[in-house]
C-alpha cells in the first residue's frame, strides 16, 4: 500500500514563528501536493511538485513556500505563521501519468497558530 507520512499530527505555534511541515511518501511518486482543508471550503491546493526541485503554485500559495530536495520528501514552510493559517494541512502524492491520477493522502497535520 502507498503510504504518505506526515511527521506531525498536531502542532501549536506562535504568531510569527517559522513552521515546517514534513511529508514523506514511499511509493516513488513523481507528484506531491500540499492542501489546506477548512470547514465548508473543502481542500484547496497550496503548492504541488512534479519533480525534485520543481514546484508550482496552487490556488492559495500566499504565505507559504515549499521545498523538494528529494523525490520522496516534500516540505511545507510557513515563513511567519499567522492566526489565519490555523487549519488542517494534508500532504498527498500521485504518479505522473496522462490519465486521472488517484491521489494518496497523509493523515493530516492540525496546525493551531496562537
Amino acid at each position: 500500500d502507498v503510504k504518505v507520512t506526515q511527521s506531525s499530527r498536531y502542532l501549536v505555534k506562535r504568531t510569527g514563528e517559522k513552521v515546517f511541515l514534513e511529508c514523506v511518501q514511499d511509493m516513488d511518486h513523481e507528484n506531491m501536493f500540499w492542501y489546506r482543508q477548512d470547514p465548508g471550503l473543502g481542500l484547496r491546493l497550496i503548492y504541488f511538485s512534479y519533480d525534485v526541485k520543481m514546484k508550482e503554485k496552487g490556488d492559495i500559495p500566499e504565505g507559504y513556500s515549499v521545498s523538494r530536495e528529494k523525490k520522496e520528501r516534500f516540505s511545507l514552510i510557513l515563513e511567519s505563521a499567522s492566526t489565519n493559517q490555523t487549519s488542517m494541512y494534508l500532504c498527498a502524492s500521485s504518479i505522473l501519468t496522462g490519465l486521472g491520477n488517484t491521489i494518496y493522502f497523509g493523515e493530516g497535520s492540525w496546525l493551531t497558530v496562537v
Binding site: 473543502g42 481542500l43 496522462g98 486521472g100 488517484t102 491521489i103 493522502f105 493523515e107
Partner: protein
C-alpha cells in the same frame, strides 16, 4: 475553469437506509471524476473514479456513482448504509488536459448514519 458543487453539506440518514450524495461539476473539456472519503481524524482515500467507458462506476464499501454528462453530475449512492459509513465525502474533478495536477475538490458532504 472547472468547479465542483456538492449540493448538501450534511446528510443524516438511518442505518440500513439508502443514501445519495449529490455532486455537480462544470468544465469546458472532458473530465475525470472522483469520490474520496475521509473518516474521522484521517486523510482522504479514494472511493471510486470515472475515467471513461461505463457511466456506472462501482467503488469500495458498496458505493457506486453514475456519470451523467448531460446533467454534469456524478452522484454517489449506496443502497444500505452502515454506522461505519459516517464520514465526510468529497467529490473531485480533473480534466483531461492536466492529468491530475489540478484536481478540484468540492466542499464536502458530511454523512451521519444514525442507529
Amino acid at each position: 475553469a472547472q468547479s465542483v458543487t456538492q449540493l448538501d453539506s450534511q446528510v443524516p440518514v438511518f442505518e440500513e437506509a439508502p443514501v445519495e450524495l449529490r455532486c455537480n461539476y462544470s468544465s469546458s473539456v472532458s473530465v475525470y471524476l472522483f469520490w474520496y472519503v475521509q473518516y474521522p481524524n484521517q486523510g482522504l482515500q479514494l472511493l471510486l473514479k470515472y475515467l471513461s467507458g461505463s457511466t456506472l462506476v462501482k467503488g469500495i464499501n458498496g458505493f457506486e456513482a453514475e456519470f451523467n454528462k448531460s446533467q454534469t453530475s456524478f452522484h454517489l449512492r449506496k443502497p444500505s448504509v452502515h454506522i461505519s459509513d459516517t464520514a465526510e465525502y468529497f467529490c473531485a474533478v480533473s480534466d483531461s488536459r492536466t492529468g491530475g495536477f489540478k484536481t478540484i475538490f468540492g466542499a464536502g458532504t458530511r454523512l451521519f448514519v444514525k442507529a
